[in-house]
């Protein structure tokens, strides 16, 4: 960055950079996430599930939180990624998991691009129905071509090669967890970068006020196509991770339940700040686990109740409760930063 030419420019540059800065809370979040590799070795199976939900919900956040597109069929892309990764491994087409995962993501990306044009027009209701329809269609295609997909029995007999040819998947899920967590982290960094770019800022503008966005030369539809396509790729990679870490894919990956659950996860964690999907996944999966232990048959009752409470109280108000804490941490972090930068002002 070239030097600002006036005090005003300095302030402006400061203000523009505000959104992009890492807060201490964020850094703590990721340290805690990676610490689980060492400190919770017995929980790696459920943690892997959480990471996959987190990535899937992050993907939904990109389209809902940053594109303003409400989807009830996001499992379409998750499913395509899962089957793509599963088939690549099963038939030995691409055995190395990372490369196969990228190809699975690419398959979902292509589908995302093609179907993005369907969600450009119309109200939220139209979009809900169109996205739901697409996922149902894909599920039935997978069901119909059971000779390829295994139909209702699922895609069985997948054997996974070691990650990067080095790390074997083990019974306890250690490799699977580390692999998934690294994928999530890398994709999170990429999403963060995208969201803080001029393109990302334009998405916030489009979500906030499409009428005005087009009045300042933003091609609204193209921006929505772009983010929908990227998000589909993310969902595909999440699906691919599921197939790879469980060595299995079934029609459930396309299910309506999955699309609805991911929306639930995102709403629990909060929309539009990237961490919502991650935090939501942790809460959702742990709550599910905990409630299922207490009341195996009726745990969904409590999930439903929590959902109703969250939506009625509104996340803004809950955010207001924790804001003092967050502000305090940010202030402390800001002081440290100023001290560290050695009074560059």
């Amino acid at each position: 960055m070239s030097a600002p030419t006036s005090p005003l420019s300095f302030d402006v540059a400061e203000q523009m950079a505000k959104r992009t800065r890492w807060t201490p809370l964020e850094i703590a979040f990721w340290i805690a996430a990676f610490a689980t590799i060492y400190f919770l070795p017995g929980r790696h199976l459920i943690l892997t599930e959480i990471v996959i939900w987190a990535l899937f919900a992050l993907s939904l956040d990109l389209i809902l939180g940053f594109g303003g597109i409400l989807s009830l069929g996001h499992a379409a892309f998750f499913g395509v990624g899962a089957y793509a990764a599963g088939l690549l491994a099963k038939h030995g087409i691409i055995t190395e998991p990372v490369l196969a995962l990228l190809v699975a993501g690419l398959a979902a990306t292509v589908l995302g691009f093609v179907t993005s044009f369907l969600v450009l027009r119309g109200s939220d209701l139209t979009r809900l129905m169109v996205t739901l329809g697409v996922s149902l269609v894909l599920r039935e295609i997978a069901n119909r071509y059971s000779d390829i997909t295994g139909g209702a029995d699922g895609l069985q007999g997948i054997t996974m090669a070691p990650v990067l040819g080095l790390f074997r998947f083990d019974l306890f899920g250690h490799t699977a967890y580390i692999y998934s967590l690294v994928v999530l982290f890398v994709l999170f960094l990429l999403a963060r970068r995208i969201v803080n770019s001029p393109f990302g800022l334009s998405l916030l503008a489009v979500r906030g006020n499409p009428l005005r966005a087009s009045a300042i030369a933003i091609p609204v539809n193209w921006r929505l196509v772009a983010i929908y396509t990227v998000a589909a790729g993310y969902a595909g990679i999440a699906g691919g991770l599921l197939a790879q870490t469980t060595a299995f894919a079934s029609l459930e990956v396309f299910s309506f339940d999955r699309s609805a659950d991911v929306l639930l996860v995102l709403i629990i964690g909060g929309i539009g700040y990237l961490y919502g999907g991650l935090i939501g996944a942790v809460i959702f999966r742990l709550m599910q686990d905990w409630l299922a232990n207490i009341t195996p048959q009726y745990w969904q009752f409590w999930i439903g109740l929590v959902l109703v409470i969250i939506v009625l109280i509104g996340r803004d108000r809950m955010g207001a409760w924790i804001r003092p804490v967050r502000d305090l941490i940010d202030t402390l972090g800001g002081r440290l930063r100023i001290r560290a930068s050695g009074g560059e002002r």
Binding site: M1, S2, A3, P4, T5, S6, L8, S9, D11, V12, A13, Q15, M16, A17, K18, R19, T20, R193, I194, N196, S197, P198, F199, G200, L201, S202, L204, A205, G208, N209, L211, R212, A213, S214, A215, I216, A217, I218, P219, V220, W222, R223, A226
Partner: protein, 257 residues
């Protein structure tokens, strides 16, 4: 954006522009010519169709018939965002801002878009010195430096109104459409808005849609009167003020003139 000399001596021209909503002709045979560098006002009583004309010019709605020329170039069927690139920007009568963004972010965004950086997904927003400097200039010009880092939704109404104009101006338009810039602004903050509007650079052609006669007569060098979707008359402020028919249909009505 280059301010290339166009082929026409009019910055903006409409040719028999029409818009019907069902059976209602909101805009009827409107042929409006706005000279380069003009301070042109479009006035008319409530429901005359002033905002419909602005919406047609900006591309928010499509005309039923007729043409729109920007510097002689036909833009009738251009998308709204394309028109802004070609040099025509607008403000809105009711604020249309990005509530979650700050003025700095809002203006930085408009400038990035203008510079064709809007699809740039890798660079971090606001790292370019040229953009930062320009945002600073805009903030000063529109008296927004004191609130530059606050969420737009929380700004006082007068500041939002200034940002509304600043945002259109950030697109570096050749033709700026101002839709009742002082609408709803408390008396105390009104002057600062009017001063800002008066201080717009002379090479920017301004078409002002206005209800308030004081603003119109202090600002405009040319006035078109719109009544029931039709152009009723056009002339200098003196001619319009002296025309008994205008008085009858508009001034005499005792709207807030």
């Amino acid at each position: 954006m280059s301010h290339a000399l166009g082929t026409s001596s009019y910055a903006l021209e409409t040719v028999e522009l029409e818009k019907s909503f069902g059976g209602l002709k909101a805009t009827n045979q409107v042929s409006l010519r706005v000279k380069k560098g003009a301070r042109h006002a479009l006035i008319g009583p409530n429901g005359a169709g002033k905002t419909t004309v602005i919406n047609l010019l900006s591309g928010a709605i499509r005309p039923t018939a007729g043409r729109i020329l920007l510097d002689g170039e036909d833009i009738t069927f251009r998308e709204p965002h394309d028109r802004v690139r070609l040099g025509i920007a607008r403000t809105f009568q009711i604020n249309q801002l990005f509530g979650d963004l700050t003025p700095v972010e809002t203006l930085g965004l408009a400038i990035s878009e203008r510079n064709g950086m809007g699809h740039d997904w890798w660079r971090v927003a606001g790292r370019k010195a040229a953009i930062v400097d320009e945002v600073g200039e805009l903030l000063s010009r529109f008296d927004l430096t004191d609130v530059m880092g606050e969420r737009t939704a929380t700004l006082p109404y007068g500041k939002q109104r200034l940002l509304e104009i600043a945002l259109a101006f950030a697109c570096k338009p050749r033709v700026l459409l101002l839709d009742e810039p002082a609408a709803g602004v408390p008396e105390a903050e009104r002057d600062s808005i009017l001063e800002t509007v008066a201080a717009l650079p002379a090479d920017v052609t301004v078409l002002l849609i206005e209800h308030d006669m004081d603003i119109v007569f202090s600002f405009a060098d040319r006035i078109s009167v719109l009544v029931n979707g039709e152009l009723f008359m056009e002339g200098t402020p003196e001619q319009v003020a002296a025309d008994p028919r205008v008085k009858a249909v508009y001034l005499g009505e005792g709207t807030d003139a």
